[in-house]
Symmetry: C2
Subunit: 437 residues, 2 copies
C-alpha cells in the first residue's frame, strides 16, 4: 500500500483510529495499556539497509521505482498522536489511539501498533479481573513460561502490573520496567536436593527475608512440618497442586499453631479469576495468588478485536494549508465504522462514579465531562514524558472503582453506556449517503 | 535457584525434559516447532553487565556473594541437548527437548525454552489443523496485528509456515526466515481514494502479477463489476465480510462469465478450521483462506501445558567421571512425572502409517522403531546445522498423513497410543517407593 501511495503520488494526510469493536465475553470494560511501547516505536522507526534491500529484491516489488526505496531510507514517522492515557478504562468503539500524518506513514505503522496496544490492553484487563476476584489479596504474575514467546512474557508482565498485580516472576521485566519481582522455587529445586528439608534450609539461608518455599513436591503436610522444624519464619509457603481450599486451611492451622503467623500462603496452579472466586468463597486462607497461563494469555479471551481504521483524509499534503478533511467510513454487509476524528467524553456523578461516555467529533465540547484523548506526539516527537509505571498502576486502582459494580462483574457484566453524539451520528449518515449513493 | 545452587556448592549435572502433559481439547497430535530459536538462545546466552548490576543491587540478592555475580559474567551454556526435529508429530508426555548440563545452567534456561518452544508448537499445530480443514485449498497467515505483541507475530508466522501455511503477510518474517510473503490491501486503501475503481487501478498498475483486490469495502458485487471493467486479470479478489459462501459463489460466477477464470478468491474475516470446514461443506469456491486471530493466538486453545521437569541428577560435577544418575520424579496429589532420561520410539505399519509410540528409558532399543530424539547440541555448541525451513515444512506434509485419520479429526480426535516401556514403568515404581517412603 505504501508503494502504491508513493507511486500514485497520493500524498494526503490521513487520520486513523485504533479501537476495539466489541468487548470480549465477560468483559464490561478494558484497561488501556501499551501506549509507551507504541510511542517508542513511532519515534524510533527506521528502515535498515538490510530491510530495504530485501524489499528491493522481492519479486512483488519488481515494478516499484528506485525512488520509493530511497524514500524508505529516509523514512521517519512525522505525525501527530492523540491517545487515552495508559490505565484508563475504555469501552467498545472508543479510540485508544488517533494517528494523523502523511498517509504512507500512518498506514505503515498499523500492524505494530495494533499488536502492541491490544495485547497489553488485553492483559491489563485480565489482571484487573484477577485483582477484582482476589478481594484485596495479592495477585502476582508467574506466567512467562506460558506466554506467546519470551518477549510476550515481558510485555505481559508490564501490563499485568498496570492492571494491579503486585509483581512478576519475570526478572527481565523487573530490569526493563522497574516492576517488583517475586521469586519462589520450582519443584526441580527440591528434587535436586537429597531431601526436601535440606533444600528448604539452603534456600532460606540465602534469602532469609524473602524465602517462599514450595511445599507440594511430595507431601504438602509433611513439608509443612519440615518448614516448622527449620525454626525460622519464612516469608511464605506455596501450594501448587491438590485441593487448595482444604490444604490452605490445614497449612494455615499448622503454621499458626507453630507460631508462624507471619508466614503467608501463596497459591498457584492453573488459577484464574473464577478459581480465585471459588477459593475465597470457601474461605481459603490464601494471601497471594500466583497466576500464570490464564493471565499472560488472557486464556478465556486470548484476542481483542482491535482495528485501525481510516476516519478522515486531508487531500492536500502535510505542511500545506489544511482544508476541511473528508471523513471516511466503511459500510459493508455486517460492519460499519464511525467517520471523522473523534474525542471521548466521560461524565461522572456526584460521588465520582462514572455515568456514561459520549463518543463525539473531535471538535465538540461537553461541559463537565472529561475528554479522554490527549495529544501525546507532534511532528513525530513525544510532547510529554512517560508517566512512571507505578503512577499508571495507581490510576487504575483509582479509576476502576468509579465504574458501577455491575460493569465490573466477572460474568455477564452490565454494559456501560457509550452514547454517540448527535453531531457524530449526523456525520455518519452524511458519509453513508455519500458513499453508497 | 541459581544463586542458591551456587552458594550451597551444588555442582551436580542434571537432565531436564520439556514436554506437554495433556494435549489441548480437540488436539490429537502436536507439531514440534521452535527448536531453532531455542538453540540460538542456548548458544548465545550471556548476561550483560547491566543485567548483572540489576541483580547485584536487587534487595533479594543482599546475601549473595560477589562470586556469584562474577560467575554470571562468565556464564555460558555448556550442556548437551537432544530434541525432536521440528515438524515431528508429538504427543502427551513425550519430550520435545532434553537438556543435560550443570544444574545452574540447565535451570536458568527453563522459562525461555518453554515459552519459545510451546508457543511455536502450538501455532504449528493450529496451522496444521487449518490446512487439514482446507482440503487442499491454500491457507495463509494474516494474523500479526492480533498476535501477542509484534515479536509473537513473527514467531507465529514461522510456526504457521512449518504447519503448512503457504505464506504470511508479515514481511519481517519474510526477511528473517525466508517465508513467502502474501500481500493484499486494507479497506483504508480503498477509502483513501476518491473511488474504489481508481484504488483498484492504482494498485493493479504497480503489482500487475500479484494484485489481490479487497472487494467488500462498500458493496461486494458492484466491486466485482469494477474489477471486471479494469480489463485485466488480477491474481485474486478478497472477501472479508458478509455471507462468504453465497458471496464467493456469486463472485466466482461473475468472474467466470467475464473470462476471469484465473482470478482466485481469497476469503478472510475471523476464519478458523471450523468456519473453513463449513464453507467447504457449502461448496464455497474459495481458493485461499487468509486466517488471522484464530491462527496466531491458537484462539480455541491459546496455551499448551508445557513443563520442564528435572528427570535425573548426576551428583558429581561436569567433567568428572560420571556415575549412575539418580532418577527423579514428582509425586504430588494430582500429578506425577516419569523419571530418568528418555527416548521416544515410533513404530509404523506395513504401509507407513504410524501405529504407536513407546516412551522408554534413554538406553533402550526397539528394533524397527524410530528413535525420535536426536543429539543437536554438545558442550553448548550445535552439532548439526539447522535444516531449511522449507524442508521442515515438507516433513510435516509428509508425516502428518501417516497418522490415522481419526487422530487428525478436528473435533474429539481418537487418542494416539503412547505406551510406557516396561523398564520406564519399573523405574517409576522404584523412584516412587524411594521418594515417598
Amino acid at each position: 500500500m505504501a508503494a502504491s501511495y508513493f507511486e500514485s503520488q497520493v500524498r494526503s494526510t490521513a487520520t486513523f483510529e485504533l479501537f476495539v469493536r466489541t468487548l470480549p465475553e465477560n468483559r464490561g470494560y478494558l484497561v488501556a495499556a501499551g501506549l509507551e511501547q507504541a510511542l517508542d516505536y513511532l519515534q524510533d522507526l527506521r528502515f535498515r539497509a538490510e530491510e530495504i534491500d530485501y524489499l528491493r529484491r522481492h519479486p512483488m516489488f519488481a515494478h516499484v521505482s528506485p525512488a520509493f526505496f530511497d524514500y524508505l531510507g529516509e523514512f521517519r514517522f512525522t505525525g501527530e498522536v492523540w491517545a487515552m492515557a495508559e490505565g484508563t478504562p475504555v469501552f467498545q468503539d472508543e479510540p485508544l489511539l488517533r494517528v494523523t500524518g502523511p498517509i504512507i506513514e500512518a498506514q505503515i505503522v498499523e500492524t505494530y501498533l495494533l499488536s502492541v496496544i491490544t495485547f497489553q490492553t488485553m492483559i491489563a484487563t485480565k489482571a484487573a479481573r484477577l485483582v477484582e476476584a482476589a478481594q484485596g489479596r495479592g495477585v502476582v504474575d508467574f506466567g512467562t513460561r506460558r506466554a506467546h514467546g519470551p518477549e510476550a512474557g515481558v510485555l505481559a508482565a508490564r501490563a499485568a502490573y498496570i492492571g494491579g498485580c503486585l509483581g512478576t516472576s519475570n526478572v527481565e521485566a523487573g530490569l526493563r520496567f522497574g516492576i517488583p519481582t517475586v521469586g519462589t522455587i520450582a519443584h526441580s529445586f527440591i528434587m535436586a536436593h537429597h531431601d526436601e528439608e535440606q533444600a528448604f534450609r539452603d534456600f532460606a539461608r540465602l534469602f532469609p527475608e524473602n524465602v517462599i518455599l514450595l511445599i507440594d513436591t511430595y507431601d504438602t503436610l509433611r513439608a509443612v512440618e519440615k518448614v516448622i522444624r527449620m525454626g525460622c519464619c519464612p516469608k511464605g509457603v506455596r501450594l501448587d497442586s491438590g485441593n487448595l481450599a482444604d490444604l490452605s486451611k490445614e497449612v494455615r492451622r499448622r503454621l499458626d499453631e507453630a507460631g508462624l503467623r507471619d508466614t503467608r500462603i501463596y497459591a498457584s496452579g492453573d488459577l484464574d479469576e473464577f478459581a480465585i472466586t471459588r477459593l475465597l468463597a470457601q474461605h481459603a486462607p490464601v494471601d497471594f495468588f500466583a497466576v500464570g497461563t490464564a493471565l499472560v494469555t488472557s486464556k478465556d479471551a486470548p484476542a481483542l478485536g482491535g482495528v485501525y481504521k481510516l476516519v478522515e483524509v486531508f487531500e492536500e499534503p502535510a505542511g500545506g494549508p489544511r482544508k476541511l478533511p473528508r471523513p471516511t467510513a466503511k459500510f459493508s454487509a455486517d460492519k460499519y465504522t464511525y467517520p471523522g476524528s473523534k474525542q471521548v467524553f466521560r461524565s461522572s456523578g456526584a460521588t465520582g462514579e462514572y455515568t456514561h461516555d459520549v463518543l463525539a467529533c473531535a471538535g465538540e465540547n461537553y461541559d463537565g465531562a472529561t475528554p479522554l484523548l490527549e495529544g501525546v506526539m507532534r511532528d513525530g516527537r513525544r510532547t510529554c514524558s512517560a508517566p512512571p509505571l507505578e503512577s499508571i498502576r495507581e490510576r487504575v486502582r483509582g479509576l476502576l472503582p468509579r465504574l458501577h459494580p455491575t460493569v465490573r462483574e466477572l460474568r455477564n457484566p452490565a454494559p456501560y453506556l457509550v452514547q454517540i453524539s448527535q453531531q457524530l451520528a449526523g456525520l455518519l449518515e452524511q458519509v453513508r449517503n455519500e458513499t453508497l449513493r
